[in-house]
Amino acid sequence: MSEVLKVDGVSRRFGGLLAVNNVSFAIEPGQIVGLLGPNGSGKTTMLNMISGALKVSGGQIAFQDQLVTGLPAHKIAKRGVARTFQLVRSLPSLTLTENVLISAAYGRERLWGAAALDKVAENLALVGLEGRGDEPVADLTYIDLKRMELARAMVADPKLLLLDEWLAGLNPAELQIGVDLIRRLQQRGITILLVEHIMDAVRATCARCIVMSAGAVIADGPTDQALADPEVIRAYLGDDDA
């Protein structure tokens, strides 16, 4: 098995707008790859297509050498693709444990009972929420909700983790905690594709970056090179500052 994820000529059209235009890239196992670009460049659309929330208008997506194009979201999740959301999606009538448990119960391994609860406790500890499983999520702070989402994604032992601006909205101290957490996941050998706007966090976590602008990939390479690319600077800052 070579690549975890292979995106081949993928496009997505919303009416007359071509949100993603013929995008291709591949991600090797164990990589943390940043997916960058100005607002509206198609990053979240790309994540939504990989996770099955949106259908592609053209092109193919392969996960672990198998085509997943057109599969519904729950089937892609079961194969080992986990994600977080730009705006946290919690299940407010459930406890913290139950919010994470659902992903263990319906994920790749379909765990239930004591085995599932152990796995949940282990992942709550991983994100720094140990011993708080009985709290209703409606009472959690923003950073704790973000931790919960990460635990929910990780409890299914995903092969690929998609983080959609997971660090956005955190204060500087929390940001450091978040960056450390992502690094810890990397040490576990997990492959991560993250959409992020906070450049310091990108530099601290991603060895490689893919930069999108107006639906197309304009740079793809080691983080420092990609961020120094004149076209990337132009996309972010406009012509005058380049």
């Binding site: 996770s51 929330a53 519904p72 979201a73 729950h74 999740a77 079961k78 986990a82 994600r83 959301f85 999606r89 919690s90 299940l91 407010p92 009538s93 459930l94 139950e98 448990l101 659902i102 992903s103 119960a105 319906y106 994920g107 790749r108 239930w112 929910r152 299914a156």
Partner: protein, 304 residues
């Protein structure tokens, strides 16, 4: 073990009751058990998912009409099986078509469905069979009907207990909270909703089928009366649609109240019903049981 024995004792007492009660008492218990089953079955799907269905009477009526049409051609147990299968098939077709609708659109559709079924049956009876109204002559006394309903209620509760211990409950609550999050956690949202909608609708169909012989004479306006949908909904909401015992806790006082109202204020019955509905939604939006729980917790908090 204790709750199990206690449950058996209660079921035993309830099953024994019609042997000592007079006809009126048995009839009251029968009606109450019917509504308790309807409300529990309704809450099985609508409680956790929050898909408020007003299609209760569509399935109830389908059950009753199946018995009315088939009671002289098939043996009674087989009629019940056929009714359940028809309810199941209709709910699967309807569910596939409509469970994509969210919130108020689903409510409106489910209400429309009940009317559609009623009008279709009426049209068919008038234009094809040339009758409006059918007689049911089955050798079933009130207590026989009551025992069947009681068995169905116990079965429904057992399913509810089992569901709450299995992962499907988590999935259903997640569907009610955030379908997108549920989907990306690996839940097949469409199949989960469809399965529970069909299960709930099949039980409701059976309630209609079992209760049908009680009327002797049925016609569409009787068995497809939308008030049945509204009463079921209000009962479940009053007790708490998210709790196993909620619908029964709501059904007992409301059924008795409605019996009293319809006997004493037959002309103003529906106005009073509407008023009660509004009061319940304002005063106990999450049901009596949830209200008691929060009160209990507050008292515990004060004690500490």
């Amino acid at each position: 073990m204790k709750p199990f024995l206690f449950g058996l004792l209660v079921i035993g007492l309830l099953a024994w009751a019609p042997l000592v009660l007079n006809d009126y008492g048995t009839g009251l218990l029968l009606g109450l058990t019917g509504y308790a089953t309807l409300a529990t079955a309704w809450a099985m799907f609508s409680g956790p998912t929050r898909y408020v269905s007003l299609a209760t009477v569509a399935f109830f009526g389908i059950g009753a009409y199946t018995v009315a049409v088939l009671s002289e051609t098939l043996p009674y147990p087989l009629v019940l099986v056929v009714a359940a299968l028809i309810g199941l098939s209709v709910s699967l077709v309807v569910g596939l078509a409509t469970l994509r609708l969210a919130g108020v659109y689903f409510v409106i559709f489910s209400f429309g469905l009940a009317e559609l079924v009623r009008q279709t049956v009426t049209w068919y009876e008038v234009n094809v069979t040339g009758t409006l109204g059918r007689y049911i002559f089955l050798p079933l006394e009130a207590r026989h009907i009551y025992w069947q309903l009681l068995a169905l209620l116990v079965l429904t509760l057992l399913i509810g207990i089992y569901m709450r211990k299995s992962r499907i409950w988590l999935a259903l609550v997640a569907v009610g909270d955030d379908e997108v999050a549920a989907r990306h956690a690996g839940v097949d949202v469409t199949r989960t909703k469809l399965a529970l909608f069909a299960l709930s609708a099949t039980i409701i169909t059976l309630v209609g089928a079992i209760q049908a012989p009680r009327w002797t004479y049925v016609e569409p306006t009787i068995v497809f009366n939308p008030t049945i949908s509204f009463l079921t909904l209000v009962m479940a909401l009053l007790g708490g649609a998210g709790k196993l015992w909620g619908p029964i806790v709501g059904a007992i006082p409301l059924f008795l109240l409605f019996e009293w109202l319809s006997a004493n204020f037959p002309n103003h019955y529906s106005i009073i019903l509407g008023g009660i509905f509004i009061l319940i939604v304002f005063a106990v939006p999450n049901g009596i049981l949830a209200r008691l729980e929060t009160l209990g917790q507050r008292r515990k908090g004060e004690a500490q």
